[in-house]
Structures are given as structure tokens and as C-alpha cells.
Symmetry: C2
């Protein structure tokens, strides 16, 4: 096989490092960029370079942001007495899209997973407990703080996520904070026939009055 | 929904411009880059910037290359008397991967398609006819040229590709060049039951002696 032009094979390699992009998709992307206007490639290159340079982590919620504290933590329209605890920044986006939550967030950056050698100290759990003890900084005034009434544990509904939620619940309950978890049940638009046993069991035990 | 950090949403937008990448895949890519080492993003950015800057088109075969003439056109190990005519640079790669072809290439950069307003003049057809008339430049010596004995039309097996092949065949035959087309038939590993009627019909009419 003849060697590809070097800039082409270098870009194919770089694209292949991304998740879900194999060498075939990568070469299709490269030839798309070659065929099209140069601006698409340069805009992408610029955005890539600015990504890490211009983002930081919010000191309060540990979400990715362009300022510190982030726009959610400084928004006086939101309810700072309820904290939604999630594993990843992407989860914040998912919950924001529902428009069903108006509190603030806390991003753990992972879940407790002995398999991956991740313990509670590798997550932002100590920072969360500190927020529960000291209250959230009020968005308007400088020194005042708003006591946290509830934490909603929105970690993933799997082994690691459940273990992390249990661990945090055990630490938070003695502090007098209401601890809640996302409901399990049938997905909307789903089909009873295709639901797995555990989900269906949770949907039964969590049934609600109509 | 709260506004994402600006560098994040900018990169999501830039990724979404690529074919086959929607906003959800794009945001997954961005958070992958944020979670991982910065070098992945910077390598990709550099490769993107070098792509157009360091590639050019070979003056003989019009393939994308890093030098002119390209490594295939200057390779004295290859048979310069047979030209494989393809639509896109990606097709050259596909044929090279088979290791079943040792001639040289000619990239048309498209196919005749009245629907897209693409006529023969928008393709590199005139340049191909010139190669047939004048012969391929010999890879070793300066002025000598190797007469072209055969062109293998490897345009896509669809309406546009077939029309382009027919058009080129009509121009090439009076020049005394052997004109061939890729065989149609059942894909290897395929299932007779699932083959479409036209492919099966072509496989029947193109049957070969065992």
C-alpha cells in the first residue's frame, strides 16, 4: 500500500484517538475537510486550542465553566438550598435540558469504583460535605450563606453510581440534610414488553397514585 | 437552559460541522478532550492546521499528495501503462488496500451529475484524455513517455459513476486504448438471499468459468 501524504495520515491518526472514531471514519472526515472550505478546519483547530486555555473549574460546584464562580452558582434566580450531585459535567447539561430543576449542582468528577482504583478521596466528596456544613455562598451578598436543605443524588443508575450515592447519603444524613435519589422506572415512550426485570421491579415498587 | 462555557459550545459547534457528527456526539467528544490530556487536543489542532498548508494535488494524477508529482506517479516499480480512473482520493486508498492493482491512478474529483450541476468540464477528464494522447511521463528519465495501454474505469457503481464511465469510454476508445470497468457481482461473504435483483442479474451475466 502506498504511503498516504503525511499531513493526511497525521490527521487521520489524530482523529482516530477520539472515542467512537475509527480509522475509516477518520479518513472520511479528513477527505471531507480537504474537499471543503479551509475555514472549517481552521475554526475547529482554533476551538480546540481555546478549549483548555479558556476553561476552568468552578470553585463551588466543580463544573467546567468560563468564569469562577460559574454562571449557575452566581445566578440569584436559582434555588441555592438544593444541590444536585452528578458524576460528570455532561450530566449537568442533561439535567439542564429537562428544565425541571432550578437548584445548583455539584460535579463529583467520577464515581467510586474499586475496579478502576477510584476511591472517595479521588472525587469531590469532601468539597460537597463542606458545602453542606457551611451552606452555599449567596449569589448576591458577599459573606452570607444559604443553608443547604436537600441534596439530590443524580449519579448514574449502575453499580458505581449507586455505591457513590449510598456513600454520600451516609455522610450527609447526620448533617440534617434531606437526601433524595432520582426515580427509577420505565422510560417514557418505552415498551413494557422490552423493559428489563430490575427496571420493571423498581417501577412497580415506586408506583404512584393517579 | 444555562449557557455552556463559551469555549465548550464553540468546539461543539465546530465538531458538529463534520459529517456524521451531531451535537450529542460533538459534546461527548468535547468532554472527552476536557477529561483527557491536553496533548490530544493540541495534536489534533496542529494536524488540522497543517492539512491544507502541507498538501497539494499531483499534477499528473490529481490525487492529494505531499509532493508533486506524487509518490505513485514517480514510482518506477509500478506499471505506468495502465491507469485506474476513480472519483475521489479516498477511492485510491480503497484500491491500494486491496494490493491487487499495480498501475497508476487518475482522480476525477467527482462524477458527471446534472442534478448537482456537474458536467464533464468540472472534472479532470480533459487532463485524462491528454495523458492518453501523450502517454504517461516516465518515472526515471526526464522526457521519455510511456504509452497508456489500458484505462480501468473504477467510478462508483451508481447512476452518476456509470454515466461518467460511459462518457470517458466513448472518448478513450477512438484513441486505441483498452477500456475496462470494475466487475459487478455478489460481494464476498454476502448472502445470495439478500442480494438485490440488479446485482444478482449482473452476477449471472458476468459468470466465470471455474
Amino acid at each position: 500500500m502506498h504511503s498516504l501524504a503525511e499531513p493526511v495520515s497525521k490527521l487521520i491518526d489524530a482523529f482516530s484517538k477520539l472515542p467512537g472514531i475509527g480509522p475509516k471514519t477518520a479518513s472520511r472526515l479528513v477527505y471531507f475537510l480537504l474537499r471543503n472550505d479551509e475555514s472549517i478546519a481552521t475554526t475547529l483547530a482554533q476551538a480546540l486550542q481555546e478549549l483548555k486555555a479558556n476553561t476552568l473549574f468552578c470553585n463551588i460546584c466543580h463544573n467546567i465553566a468560563d468564569r469562577n464562580p460559574c454562571t449557575i452558582c452566581t445566578n440569584s434566580q436559582r434555588d441555592h438550598s438544593i444541590i444536585c450531585v452528578v458524576q460528570e459535567p455532561l450530566d449537568v447539561q442533561a439535567i439542564e435540558r429537562t428544565r425541571a430543576f432550578n437548584g445548583v449542582y455539584h460535579v463529583l468528577h467520577g464515581a467510586i469504583s474499586p475496579m478502576e482504583g477510584k476511591g472517595p478521596d479521588d472525587l469531590k466528596i469532601a468539597q460537597l460535605i463542606k458545602r453542606l456544613q457551611q451552606g452555599n455562598p449567596a449569589p448576591d451578598s458577599g459573606d452570607a450563606s444559604i443553608p443547604v436543605k436537600e441534596i439530590l443524588l443524580a449519579t448514574n443508575p449502575n453499580l458505581e453510581g449507586d455505591a457513590t450515592a449510598m456513600y454520600i447519603a451516609r455522610l450527609a444524613k447526620p448533617l440534617g440534610v434531606r437526601v433524595t435519589r432520582l426515580a427509577h422506572g420505565l422510560p417514557v415512550g418505552g415498551d413494557l414488553e422490552y423493559a428489563d426485570d430490575i427496571t420493571l421491579g423498581r417501577a412497580l415498587s415506586g408506583r404512584s397514585e393517579l
